[in-house]
Amino acid sequence: MKNKLKNLPIRIKMTGISLAVNMLVFMINIVLLIAMNNMSDKIDTVYQANLQLNEISTSIKTVQDSMVEYLGTKTSDSLENYYRSAQEFSELTENLNYRITGSTLGRMERSIKNMSSLYLEEVGQTIDAKRGRNVEKYRTRYEEATKLYGYINTYIYSLNNEQFKENSESYRRMLDAFRQFEVAGNLIMVVVILTSTVLILKLTSNIIRPLRSLTGMADEVAKGNFEIDTIPVNSSDEIGVVTKAFNKMVVNIQEYIEKMRESAETERLLKEKELMMETHLKDAQLKYLQAQINPHFLFNTLNAGAQLAMMEGADKTYEYVQVMAEFFRYNVKKGTRTVTIGEELELVDNYIYILNVRFSGDIHYEKEVDKSLLNVEMPSMILQPIIENCVNHGIREMMGEGRIKMKVYAMDDTACIRIEDNGIGMDEETVDRLRNGRPVSDDKKDSNGIGMDNVYARLKLFAGTDDVLSIESDGPGKGSRFTIYLDIKEKRDV
């Protein structure tokens, strides 16, 4: 039943509600009207009894008058009048109450009834006596009848009065009741109107509620929020249909958005893969290129060269190639590790030897080493780049004999390695630049690839302090001096 109601179209629902409420109001109106009519009818009947009494009064007067007329004139007309009026009067009094009632009115009616019958009797006897010309008799009868007539009239008058009094009383009470009823009726109407208003509001809000939630959801969707729950549909009226469609639309949009997102994700993954592959390719190419200059390979080939030279009996060549192999092997082995001062010094020896072979003994290399410091640890590939710097920038550009002096000594807890050359020296600017760890030039054609900036940076990282390398020059033409300060504590156990 309820579902059936729910499935009705809104138009019919609305019409139904208004019909129901109107019917309610109408029915109550009708009931009130009937009740009021009922009461006013009662008020009407109140005076009915008075009318009846008046009729009786008129009727008895006619009887009396016709009797008197007959007694006076003895016409057949008056006799006829008498019979007719007596009949009428008798009929009228017949309806009067004959019971002994609790109310005065009823008892008075009874008395009137009894007196009336006696009166009619007396009048009848009077008429008869008149007709029989019994003068004495009809006179006394007439007197009796007239007396009774007076009594009856008084009774009727009194009863009329009493009745009027009582009727007025009941009329007043009825009127009071009527007023009360009126007030109550108005109250009822107000209550009914209020109730029906509440009813209409409630019922329409029942109908409108899904529409309102639909609007709210539509608002959400309009703001771009598709993450909403579906609206429950519990009717299949117009709103139900729209709600269903809306739900479906939202779900579809959600699905569509999901699909879009998925395809975007796939595309992104594909692109990433492509990039990765490219990177890998580049890596492979690099590896390949690196492999070409692998120091192992170089070292092995040099070793092979050295063995060849030995077999051929070319000792100098052998030695040279051997030293070169050593030099490169150091690069390979110690490229990234910490080494000892001794190992660094050895590399410097080899380097100087190679340079001297290359530049036919131009460089005089002296060293003065405190042997106890040979095991002090330091980063690899430090001294050789400094020597290279000295050679490249100090000695090679000068005329005359180049000298490089290496001195390793202890100063308190610090192992100092000083490298001096007698080269062209450096101007202030170059010294500053070196001190600040900036490359002096980008000339790399003859270099091992490691610049002074690199050396300085690694030394600083190793020592954890800036005061690890001092670079001095007394000016152009007066040579330059590098001093490395190392903590002796970093001594390697041999």
Binding site: V31, T101, G102, S103, G106, R107, K202, S205
Partner: protein, 351 residues
């Protein structure tokens, strides 16, 4: 509003509607039944017998009290007693009322008859018409009346006489004689009153003879009060007091309620309180107040309940047994300052 609405689920709405409709229905039902009860009168009650009471001075509280008692008794017997003069817009004489009652074909007549011939004739007419007549208070001995209900008038008179003697012994009176005036009804053919007055005179005469010297001699005079119309009683009573101080009686004996009230008022008006002593009749509220205020020395109260009751009893017995006793006598009491409160307390209790 919306919040409240949302809280109302449909069930509550239906309940509210139902309750409203129910209330409306109840109200309407209530009013319909109320309007029905409005038009309903005592007509629904009916009685078997209809008796009529005819008294002079029907409006006095004495007769009212008698009537009430009669009505109460009658209702117990499923009969109704009516004081017909009360319902009529015209004032009729007792004989006219008798005629009306006979013409109305009532089941019984209670009448304060008196000994007039006309009354005898009417009572006999009623008797012929099959209507039993009970004479109340004033008998009509010549007629075919069924019973007489009254008080022992001779005893009552003796009682008054004794009260007068008591006063003569208690109080000091001016002059060389104690003047007693008994107010009697001028127009009355009432033998009862005569008997009463005679009894008073007898008692006083006896006292004067036996106990002469113990108090001043007592002189009893009868004064006729004109009760022929409504205002004449008052005039007659006033006449007593305007005739000069020497002629004003020391003791006034009233033999009905009206006289008592009039004399009481006159004594107050003419500033005779303490000088004129009243012996009253009946125990109306005004008279009791007079006793409390020492204006009325004492009053004789007749048991009106008994009077009323006996009238109806006589008629009931007549209808049940075909006959009843000829005489019914109601009790009487003396009420004075000593027992007035007591009496009043009883009266209140009865009510």
């Amino acid at each position: 509003m919306r919040k409240i609405l949302s809280k109302l689920n449909s069930i509550t709405v239906f309940i509210i509607t139902g309750v409203m409709l129910g209330l409306t229905g109840l109200l309407i039902f209530f009013f319909l039944s109320y309007s029905k009860t409005l038009s309903r009168t005592e007509q629904d009650v009916t009685y078997d017998k209809y008796y009529v009471m005819i008294t002079d001075e029907a409006e006095s509280s004495f007769w009212k009290s008698v009537y009430d008692a009669a009505l109460k008794t009658a209702k117990e017997e499923n009969a109704y007693v009516e004081m017909i003069s009360n319902n009529l817009s015209r004032d009729y004489s007792q004989t006219e009322l008798m005629e009306i009652a006979i013409a109305s074909d009532v089941d019984g007549i209670i009448v304060t008859a008196g000994e007039s011939e006309r009354m005898t004739e009417l009572i006999n007419r009623a008797y012929e018409a099959g209507i039993p007549v009970v004479t109340l208070f004033n008998d009509n001995t010549q007629s075919e009346r069924l019973s007489f209900v009254g008080v022992g008038n001779y005893n009552l008179g003796k009682e008054y006489g004794n009260l007068i003697i008591k006063m003569a012994n208690e109080k000091m009176f001016p002059g060389n004689r104690i003047k007693v005036t008994v107010l009697v009804d001028a127009g009355s053919e009432d033998s009862g009153q005569n008997v009463l007055a005679a009894a008073i005179q007898d008692t006083i005469a006896k006292e004067n003879g036996e106990n002469a010297g113990r108090h001043k001699p007592i002189e009893v005079s009868l004064v006729a009060v004109d009760a022929s119309n409504n205002f004449s009683v008052e005039e007659s009573v006033r006449n007593l007091f305007v005739q000069g101080s020497t002629k004003i009686p020391s003791i006034v004996v009233c033999l009905n309620e009206n006289d008592t009230n009039s004399v009481y008022q006159a004594v107050v008006d003419y500033n005779q309180v303490g000088l004129v002593n009243i012996l009253g009749y009946y125990d109306s509220e005004a008279i009791l107040k007079g006793i409390e205020r020492d204006v009325i020395y004492a009053t004789l109260s007749i048991d009106t309940q008994q009077l009323g009751q006996y009238c109806v009893d006589a008629l009931t017995e007549y209808y049940e047994l075909g006959n009843t006793s000829q005489y019914f006598t109601a009790d009487s009491y003396v009420i004075n300052k000593k027992n007035v409160n007591e009496y009043r307390g009883e009266a209140v209790d009865e009510k």
